[in-house]
Assembly symmetry: C3
Homo-oligomer: 352 residues x 3
Amino acid sequence: MTNKIFMALTFIGVPLSVIGTVMHWPSIILFVLYCLTIIALSSFMGRATESLAIVAGPRIGGLLNATFGNAVELIISVFALKAGLVGVVLASLTGSVLGNLLLVAGLSFFIGGLKFKRQEFNVFDARHNSGLLIFAVMIAFVIPEVFSMNMNETKTITLSIGISVILIFLYLAALFFKLVTHRGVYQPSGETEGHEEEEPEWGKRKAIAVLFIATIAVAYISEHLVHTFEYVAESFGWTELFIGVIIVAIVGNAAEHASAVLMAYKNKMDVAVEIAVGSTLQVAMFVLPVLVLISLFFDQTMPLLFSWQELIAMISSVLLMVVISNDGETNWFEGLTLLAAYIIMGIGFFLL
Amino acid sequence: MTNKIFMALTFIGVPLSVIGTVMHWPSIILFVLYCLTIIALSSFMGRATESLAIVAGPRIGGLLNATFGNAVELIISVFALKAGLVGVVLASLTGSVLGNLLLVAGLSFFIGGLKFKRQEFNVFDARHNSGLLIFAVMIAFVIPEVFSMNMNETKTITLSIGISVILIFLYLAALFFKLVTHRGVYQPSGETEGHEEEEPEWGKRKAIAVLFIATIAVAYISEHLVHTFEYVAESFGWTELFIGVIIVAIVGNAAEHASAVLMAYKNKMDVAVEIAVGSTLQVAMFVLPVLVLISLFFDQTMPLLFSWQELIAMISSVLLMVVISNDGETNWFEGLTLLAAYIIMGIGFFLL
Amino acid sequence: MTNKIFMALTFIGVPLSVIGTVMHWPSIILFVLYCLTIIALSSFMGRATESLAIVAGPRIGGLLNATFGNAVELIISVFALKAGLVGVVLASLTGSVLGNLLLVAGLSFFIGGLKFKRQEFNVFDARHNSGLLIFAVMIAFVIPEVFSMNMNETKTITLSIGISVILIFLYLAALFFKLVTHRGVYQPSGETEGHEEEEPEWGKRKAIAVLFIATIAVAYISEHLVHTFEYVAESFGWTELFIGVIIVAIVGNAAEHASAVLMAYKNKMDVAVEIAVGSTLQVAMFVLPVLVLISLFFDQTMPLLFSWQELIAMISSVLLMVVISNDGETNWFEGLTLLAAYIIMGIGFFLL
């Protein structure tokens, strides 16, 4: 049912986006059109990824999900950086962190919790993720913020580059740890990884083809999407910050939203958490530092410097998530708590 | 023995308070008289609540304890708000949070720990409470503080109202979770709730009658108490902040202090923790937002904005409590650590 | 092998230091000479301590290690205070906290983790330490920082003295708790403390004699070391902050570095963690407050006031350590995460 809607949206949205772009339709209409089309395309990417994930197993599956969810993010951000919208990029990455930690995980825990009284996931993974969340946000984001107060711009950029390189290095080391040296080491005792056989929706080839085509379409649309921001901000009375933190983040993460909630509803909390938290970590430890390094080739360099509001919002969210997830168990109320935190931050950024 | 002292204090204190108020005795004398009388009345409310708690079981009992301990708080605060003392109200709520988390819990853990080597309480409740503490303080209190730096007053009030509504909603949802959907779900395995039969001191009717009458007396005295603050501050060289954070908070929470320590001494740590942390949560998630909403009808609206010192003191206390309580176990040294933290903050607010 | 190098270094370094000091050699040469000699002397102190530790058992052994590692710290700091270098002392204590939590523990976890897939240590000790870390850094260091913003200098000193007394008191209480009232209470069930018999390198007498002589030599050299800082800072273009946080801290903690890593490599994680975290706690809860009190007798009083960068760096490190160590387990990746955090902070302080 929803699949048909998204298919229709895609097959109408993509050509309309091209036509509208060429014919210079009003920005508001284009903005809505682009957003809906990207969401529809993300849904295809999500289904393709899920098919691949079934073949590849829960952990790699989660990584795949996170990767292609954040491909949309990365693509939009590169075009926004090229257009000089450094503030919007940082805002949308903040929004992505908040959205994944609070909205995606919150919805998953809440909706999964309505069906199941207690849902469990791998407590070792939860702790591993907690350490990385604290590292990325409390160390790698906080240090430049506090140290740059007494630094000139050159030193701030140097510090940003250094931290970005370390983040990427540690992200790759984490993959190596998870997939090579400690693969299967942290399985809860007594649990066999024999999940019931599930039929992938698409074959491997078809899934990859869909992913490839959808990615190109997203890239094309993203390039034009970022140029509509300033008109939209003006028309709706929104700040660019709000567009970045809430709108772009929701559009860019639609795929994760859908598939994480679906997994939670099927009681596959390992995958749901991997999507939500794994995606957060990928944004913080990979997408963001890569964008910092890419920005060196553009006119305007992006330092690793969030606004205080963005930074504090991320710190609070991370601490909440760490405390809630560290026991490897969820219920509807924990989901609701995360959602309540998201709404509070949404109001905050809207009013800012 | 202490019961008799408190009874004497009440039967002397209440009439003296009325007479002193009518005859305009010196403010210092009235302040001391009011405080002692409220503490004595709180003790009656505490005993009545304990009687009801025995009938109602440990969890509802704890909630009852917290509710009526904070009734005193709420009553004093409403009259202080009416008198325009917004700063004193925020200070006394801060003091209530610090007092419950550090002083009440600290004394309970310490004194209980002198008798028992290791005391245990429900680890699931501890984690549930940790999540809510982080939510209330790190999200609901921190966000307006940081976001209002770049906001005008109207927006700050709007944000305060929005967050207050969400806090109250989540507090009610937490009650629904605890008492309805997940009642008894998180009992530690193997533990039966068959606590030894205990005889309530008073019957249900007498307990309710005592609660009712004492509450009215507290309300009457509180109304006059708040008007003595400025004279007392002047005479003793205290700041209003110190009166709010330390004095009002101790007076307002005397009931919790007494009953939590008593429970710890009887090795009923579940109840002791429920009183200390549950009371904190009620102040933060119910009393405070209700006061924000009530203040809309008064001359001076109270935004959800603490001073930086108040906010940081609460954040530090919450983090300390989360780390100490998250294993569901206490000993005398953990109690001493909490008390040491309270003394440090007491010195800080005294010198401020 | 390394023992022979250190022995040579000592027997060449000590006389050369005396001669160089008397003959006023260039400051840079003296600085390098002093540093190397102190490191070599620390290695002797480390071996002597390890010998004593084998006799005394793992816990007292860890305490001994930390004590004499920090003796070097304390000695250098007293002479730096006497020379009026308050900022350098605070910086070097910050560096000691960061160095122990991130570098010593990080190296131990990483190198131990290369040999063993999962290394365990006493989870009760880990939680006990977590509580104290939060107390020391988030309460005792944060409160004066935030409260002194609205205080004059006299009050700041008063607050610093009060907090210092409380810190020392709680540190002694923690020793009493660990060694008297709760000795052996928190052994993981089923674990007997029967570690395989190990032969101490030196006898008790020889070990104590080495400790005594090395301590005197370190004191002599430290007194002259601190006077070279300003020349070195000028020559290398380093800030005094960087010298304090990174260089002095590494020199002062060389003993801990060596013995903690050695213990981790032997899979004695209890001792390795005790050295790293125990040493941090000793610096924060004993060395620092003692220095505050000692400074009252010097010309310039040292308040308990770090720079914001120092404070935030310590807070971040503590939170990272708490989250990583709270499960009582380590692996190479957790070690790498700590090391990455150390490098980020090193870059930050270097650029500051």
